[in-house]
Amino acid sequence: MNAAEDWARLEQRDGRATLCLEGSWRVTSLPALDAALDALKPSGRIDALDGAGLEALDTAGALAALRFIQSTGADPAAAARENFGAKHLRILEVVASRLDDVVAAKETRRPGLFATFGRHAADIAGLLVGHLNFLGLTAAGLGQVLLNPRRLRIKELAAQFEQVGINAIPVVALVTFLIGVVFAYLLGLQAEKYGASIFVVDGVALGMAREFSPIIVAVIVAGRSGAAFTAQLGTMRLTEETDAIRVLGLSPMDVLVIPRLLALMVALPLLVFVGNVMGNVGAMFMADTMLGITPTTYVERLQTALRARHFVVGIVKAPVFAFFISIIAIRMGMTVSRDTRSIGVNTTSTVVQSIVSVILLDAVFAVVLQKLGI
């Protein structure tokens, strides 16, 4: 039982090699056709096709047959076609006339590791330069609003503030509460050993106020609002809404950028405050359970331990973080390109860039404040 013969046979007729097609030469049979043709091993040129045993033929089957003939050195367009119905002849003609366009695909060579690394480095450099450019534009926009306060769009600002500030309170409160619980537990484990349990309050209060609350809240906001800005502005770009804003004589800077920037810069310090409070509440809960420090004791110790400057340091960091998160998020939204993948890529990039920037800025703050002795 030669399976190959169910599909194709070679015959000699009038001194000419003929390929006889049998069965259903359709795209669904291609794997079998390919195997059958491979098994044939012709000794010379095949100059003719015979369709007497053909049940069905489509362009995929015709392509397989004609390319096979071509591989034996014959000209498929000139090959004789015997015993084909009118419809099949048409299909053969359609495919034969397009054989020149059908070339084997060029192998797309994947760039090497070094080249990829270089390309990414160049992309990042270009990105940072673009951000700097946009930072300048925004500073100019802010300046114009300060000089001419009527340009400030209160309605947009309020709407954004509600979205990035008010609506974020539940998430921020929950997360910082849990951080407070864990932090108090960690410190408590060590402090207990030295009988210094009360210093857990110091540790949590300072840690939350100076570092944890600003960073954690900034990361939450970057993921929540940063991603939202990028996705929103990116979609507006795709649907040409930003173009419409410009054409109407409005400035996208005034309408879209400034309200978001200012809203975030006002909201983030307030959220950091919420974080401070909830962090301590969480710590209070853990301290009571684990170390027997009653809430009254906790608050008493807090009043001594938490000096104003620690609180101020944390609150001052917040608008700085907010500024950079906004710039990155808004710019990534406005540089979305015209395909659906781009929004996802840019949104991811916004969150990554924002988180890295926040940590970098925090490190800078740490060094500066240490030198200043604050």
């Binding site: 795209v27 669904t28 291609l30 390919d34 362009t59 419809k87 695909a105 797309t108």
Partner: protein, 260 residues
Amino acid sequence: MADLDTILEVDGIVTRFGEQAVHDGVSFSLKRGELVALIGGSGTGKSVLLREIVGLQRPTGGAIRLLGTDVWSASAEELAAVRRRFGMMFQDGALFSSLDVAHNVATPIIEQLDLPPDVLWPLVQLRIALAQLPPEAGAKMPSELSGGMRKRAAIARALALEPEIIFLDEPGSGLDPITARAFDKLMRFLVDDLGITVLVVTHDLDTLLTVTDRVIVLAKGKVLADGPVGEVMDITDPWVQQYFSIRTMVGGGANNSNGT
């Protein structure tokens, strides 16, 4: 024998969105080898009907029999089998934006068949050539293509598994008249040379008058007219008259030859 000839049967389709009935008993059928246009005013549910036929949106009532299978009561395997036998071209192409054109066209083939690269890629190139795209188009990303080329790429993908029927949703929208006429010729080529049945939703009068075999008019939730364009144009319904009036004003009339 007559049953084999009927490739699509739309039977009493009713579609309701809340209170509003977009379709209220739409029925027609398509035979193999026809090029049929579905027309109607904006909001008459042509695109919705197309989506119901291909299994994307469930109608409120009625039945659709495509290639012998009842689309809305078939099992998942039966529906998958039918999906391999028809192709759909969405209005703006709906190409996968993270793949280049060649990989877009190759996707249906790769999913269904296990072909070695030296068989797969020439086949993909053939589809690209059949859709009248230049060979270099295969390496381009969808975002790099013009509107007309995107639609051709979409047709190339719809042709991938050599379907028995292809549905096109307003292929001529947004195209300049020359490209739109080239598209008409492409549709006629699919029917005459490749033996594929075509159902096209369109607004384009030139398409209707030059390349279609039959026109189905959808109005007020029902099929208002169903026949060759010359017959449909003579119907005394005010909407139909107004729809074709531009053409008669310019003195065109019905031109039943298959384009130039």
